[in-house]
Every structure is written in C-alpha cells, then in structure tokens.
Symmetry: C2
Subunit: 305 residues, 2 copies
C-alpha cells in the first residue's frame, strides 16, 4: 500500500470508471487497473465489484476509501505545511537573549522587525548565558544573543556589536565632583553587581580589575537579580555600577537620582554576538534577523557587520 495506490482507489470510487480515474491520476488505464488489483491482492479483499460494463464499490471498499481520503488529506496537509515553511523566514525563530540585553534591545527591534519581516514570528526568551547555551544544545531555541565568547567548536557565532559600559552612580556620589574618571578610580570602587551567573557581573569586575567574587568577601548580598533592581539600588545611594549602553538609554530621562557617565577606557565594552548550532538550517532567517538588529541600533554602540 502506498499513497499513490490510495489516490487511485479514491479516484475510482469517485468516478466509478477506471478510464476516467486513470485520466484524473495522469496514468494509463492499465496502470491504474494493475495497481488497484495489486492493492486488492495485498489487502486480500475486493474493493470494487466490476463487470466489463460497470464498476461498483463494495461495502468494505467504501469504508476503506473513507480512510484513504483522510490519509490523502493528511498528506496534503504535510505538503502545505512544508510549502509554507519553504520560506525560511516563516516559522517561529526562537531567540534567547541574556537578561541584561533583552529588555533594552528588543524594544528597539520588534517594531522594525514586524515592518520588514511581517511573516517572521519571533519567540523571545530571557535567560542567563549558560542557560541559553544549554537550551541551544537541546534545540529549545535557535539562536542566542550573548556577550560572552563561546567555544567555536560547539557553536557558530556572529559578532553583532560592541556595547560600551557606562558608569552609573548616585547624584551625591564622590564621582560627581570629578571631571574624569580614571581606571584607578574604578579599581578602587566597590561596584554593585548582578547575582551569580550574569555575565555582566563578570564583565564589570573585569573592567574594574576586581578580584573574582569567590576570592573577595561577599558584600552583604548586594547582588541584584536584574539590572532594574541594580539601578534601584544605585538610585537610593547604595553604590555605583556599570551599565551597558543600551540599558542607559532608558535611564537618563526617567531617573534624576542616577548619574550616568561614559567611561574613558578603550576596552570598557562588551561584545554582543549571536550564537547558534553549526547545523541550524535556517541561516537566512538568522541573517534577516541580524540585519534588522544592526539597522536599528543607536549610534552609541559599534556595529561589527
């Protein structure tokens, strides 16, 4: 039994005429006759009662034709599904992004994305880097926006942009008096950090030449779970912190208790990349996504495309 046979059977059932059925199936009448006979032999039953003059379907044939119709319908559904996914842009593109990037990047690109690629459906998740990579491995997401280098043998990466860090401190912080803030100033500052696992914490420590967290005495649990919380802490005078550029854009106008200043250091930035499995088949979708992202970044970051 195969799909073609079922088409033949349904065609004969519809037309009660081998010749017309053959025509409808674009095969010769002997071919169709033979295939019907083959199927009847295989099933061990008579589907059609035929004389030299007429064709009539048997009761069991009627039942089987009903199932055959459903099968053919399902097969057509499969072809339709495939057809509408021919366009690699169609079908959900599941993007994960780190939590210190997603809330600030997504608002910039979602509307342009919908304008430029209306057929693309984007599914966004926010996780910490390691979780994102794990989900990439499990095929739960298709690509991850991260700010950490990954092993090139495991994932392909495309660098997107370099995002400078800004210093954020309370209005009445000593930094306010300084004209310039040097590396030394930073090195001597205790930064408020995000909790374990956020790459931003590691990056901030690196910029400020801080010791790894494990080595220093843990500072009274002032590790926030999100960047927003961190800024709240800065706002009420708990200390200062480093903020990635995209996150700064929302602050400046809204929060008068927080001062943000661009750092002078050349290396005070993080590199945001898109990581995906080597075998991911819909690169065109990724390329289209990347293009929209790059086109809608502010000039405060440095595009790498």
């Amino acid at each position: 039994m195969n799909l073609r046979d079922l088409e033949y059977v349904v065609a004969v059932a519809d037309s009660s005429h081998f010749g017309h059925a053959a025509e409808r199936c674009y095969v010769s009448q002997p071919t169709l006759s033979g295939q019907i006979k083959k199927l009847e032999d295989e099933l061990g039953i008579t589907l059609f009662e035929r004389t030299k003059r007429s064709v009539a379907i048997t009761p069991i044939g009627e039942t089987i034709v009903a199932h055959a119709r459903e099968i053919l319908e399902q097969a057509e559904t499969i072809r339709q599904l495939a057809q509408s996914h021919q366009d690699p842009l169609i079908g959900p593109l599941r993007i994960g992004a780190i939590m210190t990037l997603s809330p600030y990047l997504m608002p910039l690109i979602l509307k342009p994305l919908r304008d430029r690629l209306p057929q693309m459906r984007l599914v966004i998740s926010e996780e910490m880097t390691e979780t994102l990579l794990e989900r990439l491995r499990k095929h739960e997401i298709d690509a991850a926006l991260i700010a950490t280098p990954v092993d090139a043998s495991e994932f392909s990466t495309i660098p997107l942009f370099d995002e400078p860090f800004w210093l954020a401190y309370p209005r009445h912080h000593p930094f306010q008096e300084k004209k310039t803030i040097t590396q030394k100033d930073l090195d001597n500052t205790e930064l408020l950090l995000l909790s374990e696992g956020h790459c931003l914490a590691d990056q901030a420590m690196e910029v400020c030449h801080m010791k790894a967290r494990a080595e220093q005495g843990d500072m009274a649990d002032l590790h926030a779970a999100s960047l927003e919380t961190l800024l709240q802490l800065v706002g009420v005078g708990f200390g200062c912190t480093l903020i990635p550029d995209l996150a700064v854009r929302g602050i400046r106008m809204s929060d008068k208790d927080i001062v943000t200043r661009r750092l002078q250091q050349e290396d005070a930035y993080r590199r945001v990349s898109l990581a995906f499995r080597h075998s991911f088949p819909r690169l065109q979708a990724l390329d289209a996504f990347i293009e929209v992202v790059l086109d809608n970044l502010p000039d405060t970051v440095f595009r790498l495309s």
Copy 2:
C-alpha cells in the same frame, strides 16, 4: 512522499538515530538516509537537524511527524479492516426476500444461522420481486430470495427449493364438503389475491388457470397488500386463496376459521431461488447462507441442492 518514507521519518523521530531507525524499518542505514533526504528535498524543508554525532528534529519536522503518525495509523486501520474481512463470511450479507416468503422463512433460519455462522451479519429486506432486482442492480443488496425466473444474462441464480401451494378457505366454504379438490374446482373458483406486483398473485392465477387480472373485471378491490391480510379476509369468509407452504405452518394452529388443504396438482408449487449479480465477489458467503437455509427447511418443501 509515500507511506514508507513517512515510516522512516517517524522512526528517526522516535529514535533520533538513523541506524536504529533503519533497523526498526528493516532497511540499511544508507537507504533510510537517502529516503529521508529525498523526502526533505521533495518537501523543500529540513526535517532533521543532524551533525555527525546527533540528530534532532526541527520544529516543522515535529509537526509533520505528528501528521505522519496519523497517516500511518489510518493505513494500519485499513490493513486491519481488510484483515478482518479476509473471511468472506464476515461483513454484512444483504439479502432481500419477497414478502410472501420472508416472514415465514426467516424465523426458521435466523437462529441456526447465528449458531453456525456467528461471524456473519445478515441484513434482511422485504420487497416485491421487481424492487429486489432493482436493488440488486444498484448494489443495495447482495442477493435476493425470489420465486420468479430471471434473465440468466443479468443475474446468476441458484434454485433452492420448490414450495407447494395450499388452498385456504373459510370453515363453512363448499370446499369443506368435498373429499378431493380437482383442478376443475379451482378453475371455477374466484381466488382472493395479493395486490399488483406480488408474484404470488400471478402464480396463484396460473395454478387456477385464471385469466390475467387485466382481462377480468376487477373484483371489488379484494386485493390484499400482504399475505396476513389475505388470510384475515379468508378467515371472515370473503373467499379462498392459495398459500405457499411455509406460510401455512403458522396458520394451522392459530386460526380455527381457516381450513388449509394440500393441493393434489403436481405443478402447484413455486420455485424459490437466490439471485445475485454475476460479479458478486463473496460467493462463499452465499454458499454458507444457502447451506443453512436448506438445512433448516421443513420436509413439506422440496430441496433442490
């Protein structure tokens, strides 16, 4: 796309391993790989994201596999249906019978039939001869129990038994006085008859050498629609009539106002046959049915097998 391909796809989806899937499908791994690839090309999509080390199904693949499973299930249903109809006795056998036979024959055979052929489902209909033949032509029934010869070029027939006619008259009828009832007696008697289309009416007229109905003045609408009605008429003294043997069996004990007597004439019988389309494929079912019928006839009829 064909059913085998879908089996391959489902197998790979289940095992995430081309080798194991191939084993499960009883083909070599290269064959399975090739067929999957062929299907992917045909659909224009990637069903499985594979590296040299692992296989993962794509989202669209997942969807398609779900449909494929349904298709395979339906196909299996078809095979099961065919399997259970391999036995030609299974599946409803649709028998039509003339109305002057069915109510008296069926009670005799239904129970034995259920005992001997429990798997056979019988669908019985009662119609007049011409209607039965029409329904045979339209494949609405599979065989007809009739008492009229039919054109052998249109239908096959198997004669089953000869059923003698009995004379039925009211208790106080002149016949009651006679020792023997001759052909002449009959010829001079006006019989009560069934209405137009019942073969029994024609046969009774023939036995009694009556003129065709059209030629004689119509007798006050005393044409009953059923044998039971006819007997009622006899019972209340309206006249006499001919009754086929099987119908007599119920009367003798129940109705004291009706006298039934066996006719002497050699030719006072009707031949009951089974008619069916030449092309009817389940002759075994018919044979089995016939055997049960013949085995359960009373000795008052003459079996012809």
